[in-house]
């Protein structure tokens, strides 16, 4: 899994944080530099490249016509997939997605689905038969911590710049008009803010080094209005309710900052 950090490095990171400092000079509640480029893959109907510090992800959003789930016959489908490419870290190995990759994809998927980012009802083509299925593929290129926040930011951006062809139904046949491309029906924006608990304190946007020594991780997904749409604890140490309620307040502020990258 994560690399094992020498005890001396561990100590020094914890000491810094106890003094409200971080190895890369940030304050405890400060994100690293963020960059977001849209439409970087022309062949993909939507795409985005996100960097948070040295963490770098590429996300593609590709629509495909598919059958709806039997229990939601009038709703489009969102499929989120992630690959922790062996290119991105010496600890990632080729092969089918491991539990870290599965967790990433599922948490991002919940954040975007429950954040109601896309109006799935508008992606129905023929009720019960054909709907748009949007594949979100998260391609992790360079791994320096905090994949969750980067992935949600990139996925929302890719959805926002995606264009799908106009689909009309004539005699129960679907006609796609590649000349008339429309944006996806975007409903809301949702973002995620992740904290690591290290030596009793919480830092936002943990770097890889911080993840390697953290006791626990909390990711909070929020809509624009500050309501919560997803949450996931990771790591093997407990947290208290008071800590958690405090993090929700900070997450509100921080997701507000992240929102600006989507404008």
């Amino acid at each position: 899994m994560n690399s094992i950090v020498p005890e001396i490095t561990r100590r020094s990171i914890i000491n810094l944080i106890n003094n409200e400092e971080r190895a890369d000079g940030r304050s405890l509640n400060e994100y690293r530099e963020i960059s977001l480029e849209n439409g970087v893959i022309e062949k993909s109907e939507g795409s985005a490249r996100v960097k948070i510090g040295n963490t770098q992800l590429l996300i593609g959003a590709k629509p495909q016509i598919a059958e709806p789930f039997p229990d939601t016959p009038t709703m489009g489908v969102l499929m989120t997939n992630s690959e922790l490419l062996p290119m991105a870290s010496p600890t990632f190995e080729p092969g089918p997605p491991d539990e870290r990759s599965v967790e990433l994809a599922r948490v991002v998927d919940r954040c975007i689905r429950q954040g109601e980012v896309v109006d799935l009802e508008k992606l129905c083509i023929i009720e019960g038969e054909k709907v748009w299925m949007i594949f979100l593929d998260i391609h992790v290129l360079d791994y320096d911590g905090n994949l969750m926040d980067a992935a949600v930011l990139g996925c929302v951006a890719a959805l926002m710049n995606a264009k799908i062809p106009n689909a009309s139904v004539v005699d129960n046949e679907i006609i796609l008009d590649q000349e008339k491309m429309s944006p996806l029906p975007i409903n809301e924006k949702a973002l995620m803010c992740t904290f690591a608990k290290i030596g009793g304190k919480f830092v936002v946007d943990p770097s890889l080094l911080e993840e390697d020594v953290m006791d626990t991780r909390i990711s909070i997904g929020m809509r624009e209005d500050g309501s919560i749409c997803a949450m996931q604890k990771g790591g093997t140490e407990p947290i208290t309710k008071d800590e958690l309620m405090n993090l929700i307040n900070i997450a509100r502020e921080k997701t507000g900052e992240l929102l600006k990258y989507l404008e």
């Binding site: 599965v102 967790e103 429950q114 309501s227 919560i228 949450m231 604890k233 093997t236 958690l244 309620m245």
Partner: protein, 234 residues
């Protein structure tokens, strides 16, 4: 008018907003396993076996200073309405991961360097809330295996359904409700070892749901203790 108020407060299955489904826990139900437990919560039927501490033959993954906990959450093909194909899927992989993280703080792992403790959770019948039921039962099975423990991890979900914050969502409340918040705690300190949220809640609703889930955990913890007492006497 009175009828409406009752409708608002009582749930489809007649429970109060802070009422658990009927709960039954039994420790020591299997012969081969080192520890085991069986739990029923409403229609959920969960069986857990614990093996270990035992030697971990994948040397690359051994920890020189402690045991590791590996969990496998698995749904029986016949546990749900439409037969589930055997074998792990993405959902069970995620639940296995967070279950193992939720249980770790309770066990003195440093007593068993280089070993593994394997927790096998079988969902024999599923009716909403199986991951919490699995954690609660797993904790009893760990105790039944005689492992030295700081506390009994206990897990329960709260959520929002029909506009109301409620405890221990039923299958239909889980599917059609607005939010689900599975929580696990160490009851002695109240600290949280599992936390997931899926849905839509304001921070105020979230806090209410969290309090309710912790309250539920504490109730369930009594049943855990009784099950262990019953198995080993006073």
């Amino acid at each position: 008018m009175i009828i409406i108020i009752i409708n608002n407060n009582k749930r489809a299955d007649g429970r109060d907003f802070n009422e658990l489904r009927p709960l039954k826990i039994e420790a020591g139900v299997l012969e081969r396993a080192d520890g085991s437990a069986y739990l029923e919560l409403g229609g959920n039927k969960v069986l857990v076996a614990v093996y270990g501490p035992r030697e971990f033959y994948i040397r690359r993954m051994q920890r020189p200073d402690r045991a590791i906990i590996r969990c496998r959450y698995n749904m029986a093909p016949f546990s749900v309405e439409d037969r589930k194909r055997p074998g792990p899927d993405r959902r069970s992989v995620e639940i296995s991961k967070i279950t193992s993280e939720a249980l770790k703080p309770a066990v003195f792992l440093e007593k068993f360097p280089r070993s593994t403790i394997d927790v096998f959770i079988e969902i024999l019948q599923a009716e909403g809330g199986t991951r919490c039921a699995g954690i609660t039962a797993a904790s009893v099975a760990l105790a039944d295996a005689g492992l030295p423990m700081k506390d009994l991890i206990v897990s329960c979900a709260a959520g929002k359904a029909n506009g109301q914050v409620v405890l221990d969502l039923s299958e239909i409340e889980d599917k059609e409700g607005e939010a689900d918040l599975p929580v696990a705690i160490m009851p002695r300190t109240g600290e949280i070892t599992l936390l997931q949220m899926d849905g839509h809640l304001t921070p105020e609703e979230f806090e209410k749901a969290l309090d309710l889930a912790i309250e539920g955990c504490n109730k369930i913890n009594q049943k855990q203790k009784e099950a262990i007492k019953k198995r080993y006497g006073e």
